[in-house]
């Protein structure tokens, strides 16, 4: 049962490796959303190289801590194949109205849990796919409506129904947007986990 943990680098994709890749994507993806949508001041972000891109990640300690908590939990749930969706909910602080909703659907191949050995897909191929998704997230600023008021964000994770709720977590409603437009972005797959991205935003009722 001793599958080497560094399966990512040499031996193809393992379940553990895939869970880490996907959790990592969420961390960078959420940072990108927070930067691009102006949820946090741009000067609180720093540039890093990842996926062959220059990405912005937060330097705010409280935010970093919050994101790490979620990412670590995601890693575990991805490994167990019990997480189905991650949602970034952006709402107005003033009236709690949900303005934007980034939804990441996760499909997990549960047969990967069986000891079949690592899957054939190169790191580079997965990176290229992830890069396309992140680029699209950046490109969405061209059509997403301005977030005029101060906004807060929340992360929702959809898990299997019979999962015991861990300490520090609680149940929540879906926090849908009333009257929304939806745009589907590209997806990527590690062959074990497949992530589909889409963004929903409030339909403009203006002139």
């Amino acid at each position: 049962m001793a599958q080497h943990q560094l399966g990512r680098e040499h031996q193809g994709i393992t379940l553990r490796g895939s869970a880490e890749l996907v959790a990592e994507f969420f961390s960078y993806g959420i940072n990108s959303i927070l930067y691009q949508r102006g949820i946090y001041p741009p000067e609180t972000f720093t540039r890093v190289q990842k996926y062959g891109l220059t990405l912005l990640v937060t330097t705010d300690p409280e935010l970093t801590n919050y994101l790490n908590n979620v990412t670590e939990q995601m890693k575990e749930w991805l490994y167990k194949c019990i997480v189905q969706r991650l949602v970034v909910v952006i709402s107005s602080i003033e009236n709690n109205e949900v303005l934007e909703r980034w939804q990441f659907d996760i499909e997990c191949d549960k047969t990967a849990k069986d000891d079949n050995g690592p899957r054939e897909k190169s790191q580079k191929a997965i990176q290229d796919e992830i890069r396309s998704v992140i680029r699209q997230i950046t490109a969405t600023v061209t059509f997403l409506p301005l977030l005029e008021s101060a906004c807060a964000f929340d992360l929702l994770i959809y898990t299997d129904k019979d999962l015991a709720v861990p300490e520090k977590w609680e149940e929540s409603g879906p926090q849908f947007i009333t009257n929304s437009e939806e745009v589907r972005l590209r997806s990527f797959t590690t062959t074990i986990h497949k992530v589909n991205t889409m963004v929903a935003y409030k339909r403009d009722s203006g002139p």
């Binding site: 949508r37 102006g38 949820i39 946090y40 001041p41 741009p42 609180t44 540039r47 891109l53 220059t54 990405l55 705010d60 409280e62 935010l63 919050y66 908590n69 979620v70 189905q84 969706r85 909910v89 709402s91 602080i93 659907d105 499909e107 997990c108 191949d109 549960k110 047969t111 680029r135 950046t138 490109a139 600023v141 061209t142 301005l146 977030l147 005029e148 008021s149 101060a150 906004c151 807060a152 964000f153 929340d154 992360l155 929702l156 994770i157 959809y158 898990t159 299997d160 129904k161 999962l163 709720v165 520090k168 977590w169 609680e170 149940e171 929540s172 409603g173 879906p174």
Partner: protein
């Protein structure tokens, strides 16, 4: 169908039956007093270098961002040009696309069939109905004729280069080392009038037609555009957003917007030379006197 089976069988559950969890506590937000700077209009933040009282407002965010996949990361190429008829031509490796500012339409103008040949240069003629396309194997003349049904124009493609003239018969030369110098030199004499050291590689320079200003495009580390006042050489604004070095700059026909193409595979349109209505009228008056002369000379 197979995909559906995969999702249902292997996930095992309908998403409707899922449990939705969140970390306990309030939703996350930035500290008090932070205003989302995407909300452009009435920000009070003073950017360094623009503290003069009569400086005009330059938006810090681009008007638009366009996807530019496969754009060649080589600043010796001229990959974008904006026509007088408001078509922005963009060369993405071996294809040329046209984008119209008003309608938002994207048209693929041509794609080079020869393997390993890419488009190295684009240039519209003044009337905006002919586009010159230079290719990497300069011997070959690309002579396809393409119709743009939307606008009823035909464009013939031929090889040529359009010269650029700067006002006051000055021209700018630029260097590509890390601490580069922007120099002004008269066309007749190579004497340097003033020098300004930019903090990073300068990849492109463009004169404004609406103001006595020019804009420079930069590379590592900020990948920003800098707007400078002429002749004082003071910085008016710095426009950030690109995540890789700027390759080319071009100007909209009405002189209000600068398009920057960068190695991050995006085109950003910055509305940095907007004119206030009074000045605009004065300028239009002056221009209409000129255009009739130009038409005559071309005949």
């Amino acid at each position: 169908e197979q995909q559906k089976a995969w999702a249902v069988n292997l996930n095992g559950f309908d998403v409707e039956e899922a449990k939705i969890l969140r970390l306990s506590g309030k939703p996350q937000y930035a500290p008090e007093g932070y205003q989302n700077n995407l909300k452009v209009l009435y920000s009070q933040k003073v950017t360094p270098g623009s503290s003069r009282k009569n400086s005009r407002y330059v938006p810090s965010m681009p008007d638009r961002i366009l996807d530019a996949p496969e754009i060649r990361n080589d600043y010796y190429l001229n990959l974008i040009d904006w026509s007088s008829r408001n078509f922005l031509a963009v060369a993405l490796d071996n294809s040329v696309y046209l984008w119209n500012d008003v309608s938002g339409e994207i048209i693929q103008l041509l794609q080079i069939e020869h393997p390993d040949v890419y488009v190295s240069s684009l240039s519209w003629i003044k009337e905006g109905n002919y586009l010159a396309v230079g290719t990497s194997n300069a011997e070959v003349q690309v002579s396809a004729e393409v119709k743009l049904n939307l606008w009823g124009m035909g464009t013939k493609i031929w090889l040529a280069q359009e010269g650029c003239k700067a006002p006051n018969f000055s021209c700018l030369v630029w260097g590509r080392t890390v601490h580069s110098q922007l120099q002004r030199a008269r066309q007749t004499q190579a004497a340097c009038l003033t020098c300004v050291t930019a903090s990073s590689q300068v990849c492109s320079i463009l004169w404004s037609t609406n103001y006595k200003e020019f804009v420079s495009g930069h590379g590592f580390a900020q990948n920003q555009l800098v707007i400078w006042k002429y002749p004082s050489m003071t910085k008016i604004a710095e426009l950030q957003g690109h995540t890789a070095r700027i390759l080319n700059l071009t100007m909209s026909p009405d002189g209000t917007t600068v398009a920057s193409a960068a190695a991050d595979e995006t085109l950003r349109l910055w509305r940095c030379f907007e004119m206030d209505p009074i000045k605009k009228k004065e300028k239009e008056k002056a221009n209409s006197a000129k255009t009739s002369i130009i038409h005559q000379s071309i005949r």
